[in-house]
Structures are given as C-alpha cells and as structure tokens.
C-alpha cells in the first residue's frame, strides 16, 4: 500500500533507491523542473511541424538545431552544423552549410542532409496544413535549397541575409527550423495528422512518460547520448528530467520546501523568501540584492497608443513617465528586487556596454523642450538607501557606485509630479477642484491601463502599483487585468486602449532589428484600426527612426554603424518618450540544491538560469548530484 509519506508527492522511501519521484524515478537521478506554462493543453502532440506541447522540454532536450545561442554571451555557435554558414555571394543571399558527422537520431538512424531536405520539402509542400507558424517564416525566407552531399547543403534566401544562423538556427528562445526524421515522417500518410508521440529525437533525451492531462512529462537520457545533437557538450548529468506543474504559487512554495523539485520559474520574491526561511537549500540567483538574474531579453514597460489624444502629445507621455514613482512601485511589487532601465531595452550584461554605457552622458544632459532635465542618475543609490532604511541587511546590498548601478540600473526618470503638472498644463490638461486632471474640454481625463492577468503575480502587482502611482498624481486611471488571450490581442493591436503594461520589447543580442524591424511609417494604421500592427504597437510616427531602421536592415549586425544606429534610435525613443520602459523582467528563478548543485549563479555564471532556453542544455551538463537520496 501507499505509505502516508508516499502519498505526499510520491516521495517514497526505500533503502536501496532512496526517495522516488511521483513518477517512480529515483529522485537523486531526476532533475525536476516547474513547467513554464503550467498545464499543457495538448500534451500528446509532439510533432514540431504543428502546434505542439512546446514548453515540455522539446526545445531544450529533444530537438537539435543547426545553430544555438550561448546565453552567456549572446553569440551563436554551431550545433548540428559543423560551422557557421559559409556565405557564397557578395549579396549575402547564398549560403553553404556543412553538418557535423556522427550525429544519430535516438532510434539509431544517422542524421544527414536527407533529413534537412525532407524537412524543407515538407515545409514548402505542406505549408497550408502545418500550424507551426515558423513554417511560414522559413518558406517566406528561403528561395531555394539543395543537397550537395550527405553532410552538405546550400540555401538561397529571398533577400540579403545577415541572420541566417538565427532564422534557420536559434534566436534566443527558439529556432524557426526544426529538422524532423525523414525515416519516420515520410511513412506518414499525412504529416499534419501525425502526433509524433514519443518522438525520435536528436537531443540526448527521449520522452519516457507523459501525463495525458498535461501536467507533467518525463525525459530519460539516451544510452547513446554522446551521438546526439549536443553530446559533444559533455554528459548531461540527470538520468531523468521531469517537467511538472506544481500548481499555483501557494502549493509550489510548499512543494519546493519539501524538496519535491529543483528549479522554479517566476516565483514571486515573497514566496521565495517564505520558502528560503523553511529550507536552507533554496537559493536565489545571487545572495546580494536584487537577488535575481536580470538578463532576460524582455523588459516591462508601458505601451501608449500615440494615436489617441491626449497621448499623441510627447508632453503627456513625459508627464506619465515623471509621475510614475518607480521606487515605490518596485518596492511594493517586488520588495525592491528589480533593475530599472530608462531606455526601451533591457540593461543586460550583453547590451549594457554597447547601448547603455555610451548613452549615459547623453541621458544626463538630456533636457525637455522646457529646459527640464528628466533623468535621475541617483535613482539606484536612492533606492539602495531606502532599502537599507526598510531593514535590508547591509551585506546584502551592493556597495559602491558601480556595483549599485550594475545591480539596480543606470538610473531612471525623476519622480516629479510637479513637472508633470507643468507639462500637462502646457497642453491644456489641468487639475480640477478634486485634484483630478481634466482634458481641455473640461471632462475628466480617464486613462485605461491594461495589465496581463495570467502572466505572473509580479506583473499584476507592478501594474496595479503603477496605477496607484498615477492616481496619487491626480490621473484618473482605470486599471484592469485581462486574460492572456485578450492581452495578446490588446498588445498586438493597441487600438482601443490607451496604455498597457507590456513585456514585448525584447532584445537579447545586439541585433535590435528583431524587435524594432516594423517601426516603419508604412506599418502605421489608422488611429482606430483594430488589426494587429505587430512591431509598432506604439503607433509611433518618426521619420528618423524609419530611415535608421531601413538602413540597418541592409547591414551586417557586427558592423559598428549598425550599433551606432541602434543608439540613435534609442535617443529618438527617449526624446519622444515613445515607450515608458520600466525595468528588466526580474527572472525570479530560485533553485533547490538538495539533490543537485552547481546551477548558474551570479558567482558561477556559465549561462542564464532559465530552464526554457538554450541555457538549460548547459545547465543539465553542468549540474552535479549532491549524493543525497
């Protein structure tokens, strides 16, 4: 029968084996990870040509890609390919790619160009039926392709390409091109009906078992992991990797304390603290404030519809920025564990030297038309002082200007409701007797703030805190949180709503085009158009930026001019206050080192700590069992 302890999450005690997981594997051989998307709606769909159970480890453990990204540096490196693509013509449209030899599918069949060509053929022939949107991307990107030999093929792109390795390979969080095994897929009468349950993989793991209800999936290391797509990286340490949803945050804290799993995702700071108090094996990314990794590609910010009066006026947008008390917001929502960024970009260790540091002097000197200097270089220092005051131990706070800036950012906009009022008054928005702003026509200015409700707790808090901050400044804000589904639409159209707390502005490598490529004049829609205006949700009309982006598109991304242009665009963003960027997304990812140790940490930074990026490959290779059972 089931002992009570066994019932408690299947932590069954047995003398030889030690604790077992819920799914019956030895706990000390299993790395257990909280799933990123909680429950999978479609757990038995494992066909990458279709929409599939994406967040269940396929990208990290199952598939192989031509090129991967090193999350520590942002550089790409070859994975299935033997090398970076060889450019065959000066126009940058023809490329030759060589594959590594000796890579085998998990069923023992060798991986060759045949699989590549078959996959591309399928993309092109079945594109109507395939629901993975990347199929379209590849089909629109590539003009032709051909096999040269068993390990070599060539492709020609439609336009000059400087990013083949991040289109046919991984860009930060995924690859548009996922090779499928020809010998399996060609037998299928209809590949779009094929579930590919228990898929043949290129990665070092195979699916061992999964929950038909979508809460968990168990991977087992291949016997021949050395012949897998990234076997050359070294031995993946866990024999099993279990992705599992441990429920809402309340139950996750408890399960984490009970050592039921090893890595969480986006747990809110207070939950982490609560868990840490109960279990010393639980650690954050750093033992110094702000404790967490701040290298996510995306940032939180407030998106404004610049087509909607009065947000069409830069004064108004600046007034919103200046009446946002970010210190207060950060403390209320995140206990101060955040890194502010005034530029519409994340302030990460990859991007800081290229885009942030060169712009600091400019920011400090930047003045609004009325002569006001909005930048607050002491933001981080003041924040530290306030945190110290509120009882954060001194040894956990960074010391020295540089460390403080590295921890909490280069600074942010001043909190100055008085200047905000001046700016608003200058465009005819004045406070009424109740201290609430009214529009020139005398009606109360009602601002709508949309907050994503399902994303994570922290984001909800940030959103409502921002609303609170604005409200204190006299702006009538109606904050509402919406479901993911609605949020996606709101985010992509930004037609009906005035402001959105947003996370879309995502740039991981110095290639900013991935995020900004659509900020073009052609991409502007009518003020109330409801169709998506992907990439220019700001509805930003700026000719300088338009020109700069067009120029950058025809440039090699390592060209210094490319980065120069990036900085110029950033300056334009600031001048127009086109987007109120707030902070890097704090990736609050605690780990539990009871069974496994050597996770990426501040002082052991071999990759970002995420389990849903390329970094996970490095994590499984680098972690060590503690020997506890």
């Amino acid at each position: 029968g089931l002992s009570p302890a066994g019932a408690a999450g299947g932590q069954e005690q047995s003398d030889q084996q030690g604790t077992l997981t819920d799914v019956g594997t030895p706990r000390h051989e299993t790395l257990v990870v909280q799933t990123f998307d909680r429950k999978s709606a479609n757990p038995d769909q494992m066909n990458p040509l279709m929409q599939y159970a994406h967040w269940r480890g396929f990208r990290e453990l199952g598939w192989g890609f031509l090129w991967e990204t090193d999350t520590g540096t942002g550089e790409s490196y070859p994975e299935l390919a033997a090398d970076m693509p060889e450019v065959l013509n000066p126009e940058h449209t023809r490329f030759r790619i060589k594959l590594k030899e000796g890579i085998y599918w998990s069923d023992g069949v060798e991986f060759t160009t045949d699989d590549i060509i078959y996959t591309l053929d399928t993309y092109f022939n079945e594109r109507e039926k395939l629901t993975n949107a990347n199929v379209n991307r590849i089909v629109n990107y590539i003009k032709s392709y051909q096999a040269i030999d068993r390990y070599t093929f060539e492709v020609e792109t439609v336009n000059p390409s400087y990013d083949l390795h991040t289109v046919m390979g991984v860009y930060t969080w995924g690859s548009a091109f996922i090779p499928v095994p020809k010998h399996i897929f060609e037998k299928q009468p209809d590949v779009s009906q094929f579930r590919n349950t228990y898929p043949v993989t290129l990665g070092p793991y195979v699916v061992k078992e999964f929950d038909p209800n979508g809460f968990w999936q168990l991977w087992e290391r291949r016997e021949d992991w050395e012949r897998s797509a990234w076997g050359w990286m070294g031995e993946p340490k866990p024999k099993y990797v279990l992705y599992k949803d441990f429920g809402p945050e309340e139950t996750r804290v408890l399960a984490f304390v009970q050592n039921q799993y090893d890595v969480d995702t986006f747990m809110s700071p207070d939950s982490i603290k609560a868990a840490q108090e109960r279990n010393p094996y639980i650690t954050t990314f750093s033992d110094k404030m702000p404790y967490h990794n701040m290298d996510d590609a995306c940032s939180y910010g407030v998106l404004m519809n610049q087509h909607k009066p009065p947000l069409d006026k830069a004064e108004v947008r600046w007034a919103l920025a200046l009446s946002l008390d970010l210190k207060e917001v950060g403390i209320n929502a995140l206990s101060g564990e955040f890194k502010a960024s005034p530029l519409p970009m994340v302030d990460t260790r990859i991007l800081r030297p290229i885009y942030f540091e060169p712009l600091i002097p400019w920011l400090q000197e930047f003045t609004l038309p009325d002569g006001y200097k909005p930048f607050d270089p002491n933001f981080a220092a003041d924040l530290v002082a306030r945190l110290a005051e509120s009882g954060v131990p001194a040894e956990e706070l960074p010391q020295g200007e540089e460390a403080i800036s590295e921890a909490f950012g280069i600074g942010w906009w001043k909190y100055d409701p008085a200047e905000a009022e001046r700016l608003l008054n200058s465009v005819g928005i004045t406070k009424n007797a109740d201290g609430v702003y009214t529009l020139p026509d005398g009606s109360v200015w009602e601002l709508e703030l949309v907050i994503p409700g399902d994303w994570n707790k922290v984001m909800q808090r940030v959103g409502f805190s921002i609303a609170d901050s604005w409200r204190k400044a006299g702006i009538q804000v109606n904050a509402r949180q919406v479901d993911n589904a609605e949020f996606s639409k709101v985010q992509n159209t930004n037609a009906l709503l005035t402001t959105i707390l947003n996370w879309t502005n995502c740039i991981f490598t110095p290639n900013y085009l991935n995020s900004w490529h659509s900020i073009s004049l052609e991409n502007l829609k009518a003020a109330d158009a409801t169709e998506p205006i992907v990439g220019n949700q700001y509805r930003w009309n700026n000719a300088t930026v338009d020109a700069l982006i067009k120029e950058s598109k025809a440039m090699d991304q390592s060209d210094p001019k490319f980065r120069e242009n990036g900085r110029a665009i950033l300056q334009e963003f600031v001048k127009d206050m086109a987007y109120i960027n707030i902070m890097n997304i704090p990736t609050t990812i605690p780990t539990n080192e009871y069974y496994w140790t050597n996770f990426p940490k501040q002082d052991n930074y071999y990759a970002v700590p995420y389990t849903w990026w390329s970094s996970f490959k490095e994590i499984v290779v680098n972690i060590e069992p503690t020997g506890r059972r």
Partner: protein, 333 residues
Amino acid sequence: MKLAQYIAARLGVYVVVLFMGITITFFLPRLMPSDPIENYIAQLQNQAGQTLSEAEVMQLRATLAELYGLEGSLFTQYINHLKRIFLTFDFGPSFASFPRPVSEFIWVALPWTLGLLTTTTFIAWSLGNFIGLLAGFFHNNRLATALEVVGVLIYPIPYYILALVFILVLAYIFPVFPLSTTIRPGPLTWSKIQMIATNSALPALTLITAGFGWNILSMKSLAYATKEEPYVTFARLKGVPPRKIMISYVFRNALLPQVTALALSIGMIFNGALLTEILFSYPGLGLLMRTAVGSGDYNMLYGTITMSIMAVATAALVIDLLYPLFDPRIRYK
C-alpha cells in the same frame, strides 16, 4: 397520464433547456474580447520569438479562418454549430490545440470531473443532511447543536481559503496527501485507483466541507418543520423511539424536498467543482474551461460549457425521474 407520457414531457423540458443553454453559450463567447485568429498569431509570435511580416500574417489569417470554420455570418455559424452538436456531438477543433477535436479533450476531462463531483456531492449531501437532521430533530442536544454550529461557521468560508487550509494541514504539516495531482497513465488497476483516490482527496475534502453547510441548514429547518406534522406527533404518542421517529418519520418525509433540491443544486455544485479544479490543478472540465477562456479557444469553451450543461441537466433529469420512486404520494396531472 401514463408513465411514458410523463417521461416524454420531462424529456421535452430537458431538450428545451439544453437548447437554451447551448444557444446562450454559443452567443456569449462571441462577445469575448479576444479573437481566436489573432490570438493564435500572437501566440506563435511569442513562441517563436520572431515577428512575422505583414504579408505572412494576412496569409495566415485567411488560412485560419477557413480552418476554424469562422466564415459566414453569425447565424450560419450558429446553425452549423447546432447541427454539429445535436447530430454528431462534435464541437469542432480546438483552436489552441488545432486541429484536435474538442470532444477528445472533453472525453479525457469528463470522467475526472464526474468522478469528483458525484462522490463529493453524495458525501456532502448525506453528511449535511445527517447533521441537519440531528440538529433539527434533537434541537436541544448539545452535540447535534455543536455540529450545526460547525456547519454554520464553515459554510461562509470561501473555497479558496478552505482549500489552502486543507493543503497546509494535510499536505504540508502532516503530509498525508500529495500537494499536487500526479496520476500516471496506465490501465485501471487497484493501485491506480488508490493513486487517483489519494490524489483527489484534497479537492474532494474541500468540496465536501464547503458543500455540506447548506445541507445542514436546509435539512435542519425541514426536519424541524416536519417534526410538527401530526404523524410525527402521533408516532411520539405511540412511543416510537426517538431515533426511529427521526429516521422513518422525519427524515423520510423531509428527504423528498432535499432530493429535489439536490437535482437543482447540481449546477451550483458544479461551480464549486470548477473552482476547486482550478485551485488544485485537477484535470477536469473546470480547468479545461478556464484554460479555454484564457486562450480564447471558442470551440473548447462551447464544448466544455455545453458538456457541463448537459451533465448538470442530465443529472437533474435523472433525479427528477427517480423522484416518484422515492415518494409514494406523488400525484401528477
């Protein structure tokens, strides 16, 4: 009226109710502010991390509208929807997990919900009625009274809090039950049943605890009123032992309205089950429904809501049809 006629009439009501429910559920989600096609596109972009060109998006949009059957006027869509449900019990493909049919998901989720619901409803109803009976009948007895007080105090506590307390006490402080549901696939063996039982224990406990309060209160008042009926007085005068009066006089008579109440309250109980499923990550219809709303999956929503309406209506129908068997007095016109 003959038995067949009675059943036919009751079935007629059933069909009409279903029809109305289905109609409401068809039009309501149409009001939802999310558009499945845009959602899908947005989702892809989030997943792939790459933005699509305008042309790509337009093309994708056209393809999807055709695939999803979202073409034509609302009315044609409605007629097609009705046809599909009534003729083939088909809710179309899930948008979020295209092209898998919604019914597939429902068949997976339904047994979980039904299993949890029937057991907890039965237990909560019996327990609540039992305590209510005791409290109403022995209204001077302190133990019965104490039990009733427990009911009165527990009844207003929100589900979520109850659930958390149970989790904290029974999965953390005394780890008797698992924190989260883990059920491994495989044939239905005895140990699998045990696994399901231990995994469902906490949601079940929450549902029972939250559900029996009302039964206590209503049964108590019914029992109290029934106690004043002349046949109960006469039983007392006959010297029938109180326990027997309670069971075969008061309870037997007060039971009937409670049976009707049960039939009616199934919808309410379902609401509770839905919340509980969300809280406990229990793989039932409720969670499916919540995910469907979250992802703007129309068809899934139709499917789950229609299914729940059917389940609830059918349960009510069954209880109604069984009702005359309980009540020898019933007269129907």
